[in-house]
Amino acid sequence: MTTFTYRAVLRLYPPDHRIWFGAEMQSVFEEAALEHRGRGSIAYARFLLAEYAALAGGAAIAWAAKLAGRAYVHQPQPATQTALLPGEVQEAQDRLNVSLNGLLHAISHHEFLKARVYAAEEQKAREDLRLLREKYNIAE
């Protein structure tokens, strides 16, 4: 139930943030929730309230940063082309698109340090996607 609620509040974030950090955030939340559950119901309720409030606040800040053009990752390609792919393949495709967009954006703005970071992410995302395509027997 708490994970379901967390996932629902997480949807307030911009999509690119969810692609990059969503799974990690949920995993960290679950570990922390497990720990706080053992500290009594009041401590657990306080933990949940703090988490959901910070999550909603964080989403507002992430949107503000995105609208101000300070976003770390850039809008992925529309998902229409990939809508029929299995979930993890689609996610890998989104990661690749995000890395590629970031790489192009960084190069066009002469931010070569950033471009190197995006290039490494793009390479990893491409390899992940290749392995997943193999796993599901999906042609390029």
């Binding site: 943030h17 960290v28 922390a32 988490e51 409030a53 999550l55």
Partner: protein, 119 residues
């Protein structure tokens, strides 16, 4: 053309927010993933600061954007447990901030002593 290395200048650096400072301090000793960061920050602050996931990942995102930290591949962890480590620039910014705090503490203590001597 002569290149002059930029010297760290604590007086010109912009103060860091507490979550950012604690994250950088936590990563100064070793790379950590999200939950390990959260726990270490609680320990570093003697239990005073417990970062929520929203605050933690908001700060991590900004730090990645500024290239003060980077994602770090660890073979023994899953993708949900992505580790982070300080970059050279992140370490430099942490040093600047600690220097700034040291100077501030020195001035604060001097002022306190002065007021105690006058009373």
């Amino acid at each position: 053309m002569r290149h002059v290395a930029e010297q760290p200048d604590a007086t010109n650096s912009k103060p860091l927010t507490e979550p950012v400072l604690l994250i950088l301090m936590s990563l100064a000793s070793q790379p950590r993933h999200g939950y390990a960061l959260m726990k270490d920050i609680e320990t570093l602050s003697n239990g005073r600061v417990r970062l929520s996931t929203g605050t933690l990942y908001g700060a991590l995102r900004r730090l990645l954007d500024d290239l003060w930290i980077e994602r770090f591949e660890q073979e023994d962890t899953s993708r949900d447990k992505q580790a982070y480590r300080l970059t050279y620039e992140g370490r430099r910014q942490l040093q600047l901030e600690l220097e700034r705090l040291k100077q501030l503490t020195k001035v604060g203590i001097a002022r306190l002593r002065l007021s105690e001597a006058q009373s």
